[in-house]
């Protein structure tokens, strides 16, 4: 066994362990020098990125990988239930992990200059690394309780990072709101895990999915899990924390927080498609469970889109508008997932057309995860740059910045077009998939989605006009362009956006389609561990 195979074999735990080791070392390293510390963090994350690429190549070519902590076979001899913790990695996991590592690297690059003259930076970098670790852990794990532990790590670290500006009272307020909501959500999830444990005496997702019966307890568990994860991912009725938290934290932090919310979304995907995947078409009920879940998820998604867009129209604070847009974008993803579930349930007797439409919706929704992270992230980075240069975020006190900040203006224009789904950008590719497929499921959904998208364009054109165009405000005469590392980070995101926009098929064929197939194919996920039913 040569060293490359060895690294491939051990890459799943190393992806979590390397940033964790770096986080534990950062307090010691930062005693040397600031530059050394920044380089250390960047290098450690680059190593993680390399491991992600190795693992991704392996999984996409060879199929699902299982890693058992402590060694040995997944199942002890003569048992049907795994005892040790396992990582189970399929294409969906790889898709999310790649998004996370892109977000983390760009955020570290951006914070090099953005956070330069702040204090408390060694703790800041430590906590950022811990947050990245926790997102990786949530995405890689195949064990429910382990998922809960990483969820709690991400709650605590996000809360500490939201409160980074401790001398601003709004950010403390937002952090408190966040930790109250997310810890209650996490406790619901823990209660649900306890119920599942009581029934099936297992904590492994595949084992539970194999044994699940959709009893009364399982319905309670489903409701509790979806509620808890929706609290984490900012779906409509539980979205109150999201605009505050996004708009009052430093821009580099917000960029990773987007990844943390998407990990919550990933969790709910795992719950619906993997744990309850075999029960979606259970015939023991008047309606299929999949249809009911689908209708509820779609309704919540549409509600999120409405709330996000209308609240964004009303605001006059730059960062808050982007934050409400993020709520709307989360709504689009849930709309797509719900459409798939409805399509699946409607297709059953003799209507395969619906299943095809639903599959396209699922692909669009998954593709939108990547695009949303990049688009919203780019807008937040631009907002951070504007704040860095002017110390203002209110629309009323900004104007005419295009004269002094040419590059930032271009990046904002790219982000604007991408977020509202205009043709040359990546947002168009995924939103078009969602529009087309939801039109076949129900035309009303599609029309709502298109109208709200156009209204988003209106929102951002207003922002663009009032911040970057218009007469120069005297107090902003001496504004300078932001430092190079911030420009480099934004340029990197913008390049990825344009690349995906020009060649969407590369991403869809190589990443999104395998991910969608992995989600739909619950049996493979289960039989990798339990060995067939």
């Amino acid at each position: 066994m040569n060293w490359f195979e060895l690294i491939t074999l051990h890459s799943p735990p190393l992806i979590v362990a390397v940033p964790l080791l770096a986080a534990f070392l950062t307090p010691l390293v930062s005693k040397i020098n600031d530059t050394v510390r920044n380089l250390f963090v960047l290098i450690m994350l680059s190593i993680t990125g390399l491991l992600v690429l190795i693992l991704g190549y392996d999984v996409l070519t060879n199929g699902i990988r299982v890693y058992v902590f402590g060694g040995g076979a997944p199942l002890p001899s003569g048992m049907n239930i795994p005892v040790r913790i396992m990582f189970e990695i399929d294409s969906m996991t790889i898709f999310m992990v790649i998004i996370t590592i892109i977000l983390a690297l760009i955020s570290i690059l951006y914070s090099w200059s953005f956070m330069k003259d702040k204090d408390g930076l060694d703790k800041y970098y430590t906590i950022i690394l811990l947050l990245v670790t926790s997102i990786f852990g949530m995405e890689l794990t195949g064990d429910l309780f382990n998922f809960f532990v990483f969820l709690e790590i991400s709650c605590i670290t996000s809360c500490a990072l939201i409160a980074f500006y401790v001398n601003k009272k709004e950010s403390l307020d937002a952090a408190f709101k966040y930790i109250v909501i997310s810890s209650i959500g996490a406790l619901f999830i823990l209660f649900a895990i306890g119920l599942l444990y009581a029934q099936y005496n297992a904590l492994n997702m595949a084992t539970i999915a194999n044994a699940i019966q959709f009893t009364f307890f399982d319905k309670i568990v489903l409701v509790l899990l979806i509620t808890g994860l929706a609290m984490k991912s900012g779906l409509a009725p539980m979205h109150m924390w999201l605009p505050d938290a996004y708009s009052r934290s430093p821009a580099s932090v917000t960029f990773i927080l987007v990844g943390a919310t998407l990990a919550g979304l990933y969790g709910s995907l795992r719950v619906i498609f993997t744990i309850y995947g075999n029960q979606l078409l259970n015939t023991g009920f008047t309606f299929y469970p999949g249809l009911i879940i689908g209708i509820i998820v779609t309704a919540l998604g549409v509600l999120s889109i409405f709330i996000g867009v209308f609240m964004a129209l009303k605001r006059s604070d730059f960062k808050k508008m982007i934050a409400y847009t993020a709520v709307a974008e989360i709504g689009y993803m849930f709309l797509a997932i719900g459409s798939y579930l409805i399509g699946l349930a409607l297709s059953v007797p003799d209507n395969p057309q619906m299943l095809i439409a639903g599959t396209y919706a699922l692909k669009g929704g998954l593709f939108h995860i990547l695009n949303d992270a990049l688009d919203i992230g780019l807008l937040f980075l631009v907002a951070g740059a504007v704040y860095y240069a002017t110390k203002q975020t209110s629309l009323n006190s900004l104007g005419g910045l295009a004269r002094n900040m040419k590059y930032t203006t271009i990046f904002f224009l790219i982000g604007l077009l991408a977020v509202s789904g205009m043709p040359p950008m990546n947002g168009f590719a995924s939103k078009l998939l969602i529009y087309q497929s939801t039109y076949q499921i129900s035309p009303i959904l599609s029309i709502i989605a298109i109208i709200c998208s156009i209204m988003l364009l209106a929102v951002f054109v207003k922002v663009f006009q009032s911040i970057f165009l218009g007469p120069e405000i005297p107090s902003l005469k001496n504004v300078k362009e932001v430092p190079k590392s911030m420009l480099a980070a934004m340029a990197l995101v913008a390049c990825i956006i344009i690349f995906i926009g020009l060649f969407p098929n590369i991403i869809i064929d190589n990443l999104v389609t395998p991910a969608a197939e992995a989600l739909q194919n619950t049996t493979t996920y289960i039989s990798t561990i339990v060995g067939g039913t």
Binding site: P13, L14, A17, L20, F24, L28, Y67, G70
Partner: protein, 158 residues
């Protein structure tokens, strides 16, 4: 928070060694009796916190720096993850219990059934208990120390 009265300080001086010994016992015998790194660490940390309450946080901060305690915590965490990495290097898997049958220390496997306590068992578990114990002592103590010091500053300001 000012210092408490002389009676309280003397009492806590007397009780403190016993709490320490009990906590260290719980940490060391984690693999044989109820308890372990977390529980024992919490006991020791509460002993330290008792001193903090009796002698005020400003007095404690003169003796020991927050940054030094924080380094201790990092070291504990590094020890824990280091044992896990050693499992990867020597045992072939992350978190492998590589000492249990053929290690140098803690390598005895007890007979199945009721046994007397044999300290030299359980592989890497005592090491992990120790690392977690150091971490929990430093961590809990730092949390209370920082919060107590901050609140005493505010009192002083008013």
């Amino acid at each position: 928070m000012s210092q408490m009265s002389k009676i309280v300080r003397t009492q806590s001086n007397i009780i403190f060694p016993f709490i320490m010994i009990f906590g260290l016992y719980v940490i060391a015998h984690g693999h044989l009796t109820p308890g372990g790194g977390f529980q024992g660490g919490a006991v020791v940390a509460s002993g330290c916190i008792m001193l903090l309450v009796a002698y005020s946080s400003a007095w404690v901060l003169e003796k020991i720096k927050v940054s030094r305690l924080s380094v201790f915590e990092s070291l504990g965490a590094l020890g824990f993850i280091g044992v896990a990495f050693f499992g990867l290097i020597f045992g072939g898997w992350f978190f492998n219990n590589f000492l249990v049958r053929n290690g140098i220390l803690f390598n005895v496997v007890p007979e199945t059934g009721s046994t007397l306590s044999n300290f030299n068992t359980a592989g890497v578990l005592p090491l992990m208990n120790f690392a977690v114990g150091v971490k929990v002592i430093a961590g809990l103590f730092v949390i209370v120390l920082v919060m107590g010091y901050a609140s005493s500053l505010k009192e002083w300001k008013q």
